[in-house]
Structures are given as C-alpha cells and as structure tokens.
Symmetry: C2
Subunit: 683 residues, 2 copies
Amino acid sequence: MEVTRRNYKDCLNTVYSAIEEADFLAIDGEFSGISDGPNVSALTNGLDTPEERYTKLKKHSMNFLLFQFGLCTFKYDQKKSKYIIKPFNFYIFPKPFSRTSPDKKFICQSSSIDFLASQGFDFNKVFCHGIPYLNQEEETQLREQTEERRNQLANGVGTPSYISPSASKGPAHVPDEHKDFINKVIEKVGALLNDSEKTLDLEPCTGFQRKLIYQTLNRMFPKGIHVETVETEKKERFIQVSKVDDEERKRREQQKLERQQEELNDAVGFSRVIHAISKSSKLVVGHNMLLDVMHSIHQFYCPLPEDLQDFKEVTMCVFPRLLDTKLMASTQPFKDLITNTSLAELEKQSKETPFKSPQVETAEGFPSYDTAQEQLHEAGYDAYITGLCFISMANYLGSFLTPPKSHIPARSKLIEPFFNKLFLMRIIDIPYLNITGPDLQPKRDHVLYVTFPKEWKTSDLYQLFSAFGNIHVSWIDDTSAFVSLSQTDQVQIAMNTSRYAESYKIQTYAEYVQGKQQEKEKLSQTVKSWGEDSWVKPHYSSSNTSVGFGYLRTRKRAISPAQGDLDTDKGWSHYSYPNSEGSKKIKTDEISAQADAVESKTSEGWLKMGGASDSAGSSPVPEDDDGGDGKNSPEGSSPAGHDVGTVAWQQASTGPIRKGQKTKKKKNQGESTTSLFEVPEVW
Amino acid sequence: MEVTRRNYKDCLNTVYSAIEEADFLAIDGEFSGISDGPNVSALTNGLDTPEERYTKLKKHSMNFLLFQFGLCTFKYDQKKSKYIIKPFNFYIFPKPFSRTSPDKKFICQSSSIDFLASQGFDFNKVFCHGIPYLNQEEETQLREQTEERRNQLANGVGTPSYISPSASKGPAHVPDEHKDFINKVIEKVGALLNDSEKTLDLEPCTGFQRKLIYQTLNRMFPKGIHVETVETEKKERFIQVSKVDDEERKRREQQKLERQQEELNDAVGFSRVIHAISKSSKLVVGHNMLLDVMHSIHQFYCPLPEDLQDFKEVTMCVFPRLLDTKLMASTQPFKDLITNTSLAELEKQSKETPFKSPQVETAEGFPSYDTAQEQLHEAGYDAYITGLCFISMANYLGSFLTPPKSHIPARSKLIEPFFNKLFLMRIIDIPYLNITGPDLQPKRDHVLYVTFPKEWKTSDLYQLFSAFGNIHVSWIDDTSAFVSLSQTDQVQIAMNTSRYAESYKIQTYAEYVQGKQQEKEKLSQTVKSWGEDSWVKPHYSSSNTSVGFGYLRTRKRAISPAQGDLDTDKGWSHYSYPNSEGSKKIKTDEISAQADAVESKTSEGWLKMGGASDSAGSSPVPEDDDGGDGKNSPEGSSPAGHDVGTVAWQQASTGPIRKGQKTKKKKNQGESTTSLFEVPEVW
C-alpha cells in the first residue's frame, strides 16, 4: 500500500493494527545518498573497529534523507499454514509545516539519485506528497511553543504582537512610496465597515507592504475587524479583512490555535509509525540494516549519540528486537549454502533446495507484489522479500529438529542467536555489530600500522614488505595504511628492519590502538561528555512529549545483559564474545592469502589491479554493487567486497558443543573450520 | 523549448545559433535551496559590506544545485519592429558518467523543494533526464586521464591491469567458497573456444566474483578472448566473454577509448551553453541575478574564489556584460514608477502606462509562453519575462530623448549605466555590487556595533538606546548587532555613556571595521593567498581544455577600467563611485525613521513586532516573498525587506548634470531628493 501525505491520516489505523497483529515486521529504507565523504572505501576500512565504523557512518551518512520507508507486516495464519502480509510503502519528506518548524536540509548524492532514477523511483511523489516527520526534540519544542501561545491567549495577554517592543513606539512609519498604497487600503477597510460585505480581499503585495498594512490597521481599527493572511495554492499571499465583533475575534483566535495544534499533530507525521513499531516490541527484520536503523533513529527519534555504546542503548529502546538477514545468511548453516548474500540473490536462492519457498498471502485490500517481476529498490518490495528470506531461513532451521518442523515462528529460540547482531560490511574479522553486548575483539596481532609520504602507492607497500610474503593492504588515508602480514611471527622482524627508516614508520596494531585511546582520553578531558549533557537532558527531561520511548527504563534494560549473563550455558551465545579464550583466533593464512587480490586505495586503484578491462559499463554505481542489498548501500563500492568479511570470519567455538548430525553441508572438501552454527539438543 | 539529456545533443546547434544571432540574452536559474545557514536573515545583514555578503553567499548558498537554467534569446527584427525570441528551459543534473567522474553531492532545502513542488516543478525530469556538466578543472582532469590511457594503448603498454603490482604476484587466490563458481566459468569459457558461438554471457554475480573472473580468465586465456562487463538498463551487471583474435582485441580496446572520449564530451554537457554565452559577449539580463551568476560560475566554470575582487574578475570573464532588471527597476527614473520590484509584479507594471508592452514574437518551432497564464518559477519563463521587463524599461528611456525613440537597442549608451551592477538584497545603503569597479562605501558613521550577553533581545537594545530616539537594529548573531542611530551626533554621547558598562560593549562602525581588517591581516599572514596558489594554477596551467575562457587575458581587461577611467566625463558613471565627494551621503533621517518598523533578529521576531496576527498561512515560504523575483531567492525572508534598501539609497549627483525636461515623474509631493537618473544631452 502506497502511503503519502494525501492518504496518510486515513491509513494510520490500518498501519497500527497491522503492526499490532503481526508476528514480525520487515523494514527497508531508501536514501538520497550513502556517503558524503571523499569515497566509500575510505568510509569502510577492512580493519575498522566497530566504534570507528559507527563514527564514520554517523559523520558521513546521516545528512542524507531517508525518503522511502518500506514496512511489511507478517502474521502467521495457523489454519492456512501461511503468512498473511501487509506491505506499506511510505514516501517521506520533511515539508516544513509552518514558519517556526524546522527547515531541514539534506544532501543528495548524484550517483544514488541517478541509481534510484534508473530504477523508476518517483521523486515527484516524494517531494510533492511525502509525509512529514519530527523527531522527539522538535516535537517537544513545538508543543511548548503552542502551549505558550495558548496560555497567553487564555490569560488575555493577546497575541504576541501586542506585547512586542515596537508596539509602544507609536504609529508605524510608512515610507513615502508606500503611502498611496496604504491610504487606499485604509479607505477600502473604512468602506467595508460601512457596507454589507463581510470580508475584503486585498490584492497580493510584498511582505513589507503586508507588514505595513497590519501595523496600520491594528492602530486605526483596534476593534471590529480581523486581519489575516491567506495563501493561495500557488503560494501567493494576500490579506483578508473581515468584519467581526469582539467575541468573534476571540473565537477566531481560538480556532487558529486549534488549527495550529492539529497542524502540529500532522507534522509529527511518519514518526508515529516508528513510535508504533517501537511500542510493539515486535521482531524487526531487515537486510544489511545498520544504515536503516541508524537513519530511522536519527530522523524520527533523536540525533545519533556520539558514542557507540549510547547508540546501542537507544537502538534497543527504539527497536528492541532486530534481525539482519544478511548477517543470518552469512552465518552457518546458511553461509555454505548461499554464496551471494545480496538481497536479490538471497531471495532467489532461498526459494530453492534445500530451502522451501515460503507460503504467503497478501491481505485483502493490499496490492500484491510479484517476485517474478522484480521491483527491487522500492522500499516496500524490499521489505517484503526481506521477510520472505527470513521465513525461508528460519524454517530451514526447523529441519534440524527431531522431529523436524516446517514452520518456525518468529519467537522461536532457534532464531535468538541472530537477534540484535547487525551485519558490518567489509570488516575482515568482525562480522557484526552486537547491539546487546560487547563487540568481538579480534587480536589483529599480524597487522601493522604504516605511515609514509603521500606519494606512496600500493606498489610501494608491496615493495617494502616484499620479504614477508603475501600482504593485505587496507588504506586509511593518503599517508597511512594497515598492512596485514601472513604470519604473526614476522611482525617483530618487520618492526626491527624498519627501526632506522626515515621516510616511513611502522607500529604494531596494539601500539596504534593505544595511541588512539590516549588521543581520545586527552580530548575527553576538555570536551564535555555527550551522554551527560546534550542528549539525555534536552531529549528526555521534558514530559510534554505525547509519545515517550521510556529511554531511562530501557537504559537499564540495555545495560543489564552483562557479560556474565551471556557467557553462561545459554545455547550458542558464548562463542561470540571477547575474552573467552580462543574465540578471537583469526585464520590469518586465509586472510593473507587474498593479499594480492584485495587492495583498497580507491575503487579505481582496485580496478587497475583486478579488472581494468572491466570498464565498459559507464555507470557510476560501484563495481561490486550488482543490484545491491535491496538498498543503495555503501556495500556497493567496496574494494574489499563484503565476501571478504565473511570468508575471513571463522572462529573456534570453545563452549561444550555437540555437533548436530545434519549441521554441516560442506561444499568445499578438505577444509576443516569449525562451523559457527551448532545445534544444541535444547529443542 | 525544453532541453533534457535526451534531446540535448540535437538542440545544441539551435542554442548556439540563437545565442549568436541575439541582441541580448535573458537568463534565470532555479536552485535546490537558498541558504544552508541557520536562517536567511543572518545571511543578509542590512549593514553587510559587499565583501561580507559575497563571503556569506559563497559559504552558505553554493552547495545547492542549480537544476533548471532558463535562457531566452532576443533578436530585434527591424522590419517587423519586434523582438523574435527563442526560449530554452534546460534541466540540469550532475549524472556521473563513469566510475572516475566526480560523484557530486548537493544540498536540498526542504522549504525550497516544497516551494518548487507547489509550483509544479518536475523533479523526475531533473533527476532522470537532467543534462550533466563539468567545470573546467574537472574537464581538464578527465581529458588528461583519457589521454594517458590512449598513450598507454598506443605504446603497447596495454591497459593498466597488465602493469598493476598484483600482476606479478602469481595466480589470484580464489577463496574456497568461490572455487566451484570460478571452475564453472572456466569450463564454460573453454567450451566457448571450442564451439561455434561467438559470445558467452555469464550470469550476474557480485563485484568480487567478477573480479575473480577477470583475474582467472586473464591468466588462463591470455589470448583469444575479450572479457567485458555489460550493464543492463536496470543496472544489473554481467560479464560477456567474446572470442577474438589479437587484432580484434586491439580494435575493441580502441573502440572503447573512442567511446570514452565521446562520453567525456557528453559529460561536459550543459557547460557548453555557458561557454557559448561567454564567448558571445552578449548582454546577459537577469532579475536579482547575483545568485544566478554565482551559481553559474561555480557549477559550470570554477569553484568561486575566496576574494570578492577575484570573483568580479572571473565574472567579467564569463559574463562580460550583465544587467540586473531588479537593480534597474529600483533606480530612477523607474524607482518612482515601480513600487514592487518582484519579477511578477514588475512584469505586470512594465506593461502599463507609462511603459509600453514590448512587441515580441516567438520564433518558429518554439513553444510560446503566455504571460496571462503565469508559469512563474519555470526558469525559461522567468528568463522570458525578465527580458520583457528589460525591453519595456529600456524603451521607456527612449522617451526622454529629443526626438523620442520607441525602440532602444541593447547596445544603446542609454543602458550602459546599468551594466554590471548586480542588485544587493537588503543592504540598507549599498544597492548593488559593482562588478567592474570599486563598490560604494557608505560612511555609516551613525552606526554602532554592540556586543552583549546572548540572553538579550531586541527589546533590551531598544531599552538601552531609549534616550536616542528611533533606532534600527540589525542583528549579526546571538551576541552582537548593529544599531543605527537617527542622528550621527548622538554617536559620541552613546559611546560616552557606555564607557563603564560591564554587560555590553559599544564600538563605532569605524572601530568595528578596523578590528575586522586587523583580524583579516593576521589571518592572511598565515594562510596562503588563494589567488596565487589554489586557483590560477590548477585551473589554468593546463592547455588541454578544449574551451578556454582566457582568464589571464581577461584578468588584464577586468583590471584595466580603473577608477581614473571611470571618473571621467563618461555620462553618468561618475556618481556611483566612492571618494567622489557627496556621493556617499545617506539620508540618515529616512533610514532611522523606519527604525521602529524594521528589526531583524529572526523572521519570527519580526513577525512578533509587525504582524503577529499574520500567521494564518501555514506555508514556510518566508513572509515577504510574495511570489518572489522569479526565483526562490533569499529575498523572501527578509525582515528588513528589499524595499528598505532602495528607499534609503539616494545620493546626490556631483557631475555636470543638466536635468532633462521630463525626467522626474514624482509621485510624492514635497520630497526633494536628487534623482539618480539624469539624462545628459549626449544622445
């Protein structure tokens, strides 16, 4: 169902009840751009820490507009043994609703706009009929302003014009060239008072002239008339003068206030849908959804916090249960079955053996999507097929049970291991951002941090480390890069040989992290912490907000699942947390073996190395986007490719694991990594 | 004529010849926003110096996109005694044409987008079919890159992939999970070589997989095949493998280069039109055109220089003759005849007595506009009516000649006084930016610079200066403002009384300017000057650019009309330059008389003072826009109103002027300012 400003109010209850009755929700967003930084590869270094990645995305991706939001609700019908779906496709635009409401600016990235244009995206619908929104702070501020005006009127202070400093300054000065004009107006209004007409429409004039009219009429006709600016559809404004008695005048003021109140409610607009999703606490499924989540919070809830930990807490408060199908598909037992985890490909593969095409039915009154006729990159459609992928994969897990189950509901414990882990693109050794706990901390003791003159190219680094076999270069900026060696024991040798170097400098990864930490501490001693000051107070101290997310309550909740809780024998959770011996092991040989294939200074640089003849396509959409993940996302232009991230991520489990009989469907003979997906006999 | 990417190449010659044959050109631009600063009134302080205003506009207005450019050419047909017009409406969008071309970002301002949407602006046309463009530097860079590739091919070095550092690193490593996939590809290509098919289309895959395919095929089949990525309309990419012999392979490489060359030519796109306008040296007419000129140069020529003087020089080089109809209409003898200088109103008034509706005819093959059916804010239409206004006003000047002339051509000396003076919005005492000479330097010795705690409001300032009669407050920021007193001799008294003040501080305007100057000098001692380094060299050192504006030549030209030249007896030019005694006189009483009507902290603040009941309109378009000047321009939200600027600007002429008999058509009896427009008997 397409929802714009035109039918939004009528649809809202339909949306609410769809959310309320659903077993789970799938979402997707389309944005006006991805990265306002110099290039996407700089945005996604393969050795970013989760903190670094979050900071980069916050800095370089939040000034774009989320202008299409897809929501597809899935309700399981036991009798029919199928899901009943209700897909919504919301068009979103921050139309300022009054002079005092925020006039938002957003960035458009040509390549993203061009990409969406090529997919048939309707920009006119967004810009002409998009649903407005306010975040919590804006809503509170505007409600306070309206409240103030209401109080002033109630206390008989009158509208602000009567208490303005200029009011006491005597009659307004009318510049000579406007005197004729103003005199004519006075004449007309005088005539109005003496004839039978009720209203008088003055001809359109400049704002300055309107101001003079207001001042003059207020002074000359303090009673008996009501003056109002009326705007035509073409945004032309004229003044309307009406004959009114005192009571009528007050009534009109009251009406105006009520109109303003309603306008404000309308202005909260799409944010209500996010509020409803949040309050429902339903499982929210997305594909490669980190940016969707960040944008949704940033646009409809509050500006993103500085600190990753605070972001995790806000996220848990807005979306208490998340599941990322890209992360799910990249994890065992799916990892071996799915070679391409882009949304379009995943959707295709999840219909084929060993998966089963999920049984779904579009609810009455909703237009049904046809997966054969791909409508990729329409947010509603993408949300829909994301839900399909989730159902297929969830049901596949049921085949491991004894006896096997063909339908695995969204609340099944089988799915829990995938909760609140958001796929991290192109980080070599950290597959996901863990929203409800600490992140994985790979050792990276084979990684060197190298600084050098800005003239250096990748070939210079290969030259420098030629004695150490294959290396993997991850560019940070013009004058620094991470260099991963194939063998950890060569790190010391490399360090020693560089001791007397003048043009370049080598540090171990540990030294680099320590240096950054010290920098941060120095900074935080001078800058006030965000969490204490600018965020909690302005957003949450006021109780005027009609819809509260209950941040403080949730803060406790989000903090409570501490490390100790998670490290107990709760199924599979134990494998993914740091400081449990062995879990940080990285298959360094596998990473470094790719060294000569993976390099990331610029996408051009990468193309030169890997496939220079691959340049026939004149499209700016980055090389490895291939339709993308249902969104126009940074994944596209990775030099390292998201595949790298998942390839390299293989960790030894340490808990008491019993291997399920059918767990492993290995495609690659002879490889003996320990699978991440191990089915305990709990179910 | 509507011009998009689709018909652009076909139209180009039509555009060229229209420019070539024209007597003058009218232009107009539509932008994606106006100001990315906090609010427009902060952007346009009524006491800005031209330098300050330029710096603010450059900083806060250039990140928007000029996405519709209107050009209307006017050619006078002597026989028919009418102008033949050719209107063009260009849609413009920086579609990246290849991976290496710039991926431009631009800001959209919600209120501007909303405004254009309400006027029926077609965003889909812009984003789907907009004509691309490159500035000179981008064009040069891309031409150099193409040249380099051509040379490599000519020298037999081959495409860059063959000399990349990875090439010598032995066979590419194929990660295990892709081995099956790659082996299948090898099989298929092997089969291709042995069967009768000429080409093989592989199925779509990820960028990483394509990269592996390229590497593998280059290694395994160094001869006999050509590998190429093909993109479908839906931006899906797949690899096409073709059987070719060595010669064919080279031919294809050559073809590809030629295709790239053509693509690059296409990418220069709309900039060619600006080049043609520039080369023609024709008079270019616009309405309130400073932003149009700045954007045109910034987008299609070069990033705007830091310094105002440099900007003037570049402007003279790109648009050697400009005329601003808003400035013209605000100048005598038009000033007294036209109370509202917004484009729509000017167009209406310029058809009525004493003006004559200009005789125009749309050239064959061009759709004709109907001024009765306003299509305001379509750039082509706005350019058209701007031209009409110019003709009406120009012809009106002919009525002062003896004998009177009904047609005044664009090259008439009568019009020269209006050349290259661009209207400055809402500066109280400087009506225009003088592109070909020094700017007016009003004395401002009745102005105080006041700093105070950020809690202060306008009323506090009124309080503070209550002893000095009417004042005019121009807010600078939260803690400072200019306060204009009505009488210059009170400045010293105000200074004296403030001597022991602790919460606030008062400086004279002269002290303020001196302080700023010192700051600037301090800064320029550490920062390299822009003119020497970053601008001239990168933009002009290369001679590869096909279209040169000849900056260096023009630099001389622009510098040459020095003060001395202009101050000679060349008609009216002498009145508008500083340091000619008397020309700086400001009618201070008139300005200050408006004090209580004009205040400018925020538009809200202004509304409170002037017309609080004027808030029925729920549109965010600023109060005094009233249809605006044919563009969605900052003029809209002025607290001071452009009228103020023109009212206050009245200077005594100093040259040997003889008053024309019919020069003055005074509306306001009893006023005795000296008119700016004095017709010498030269003609």
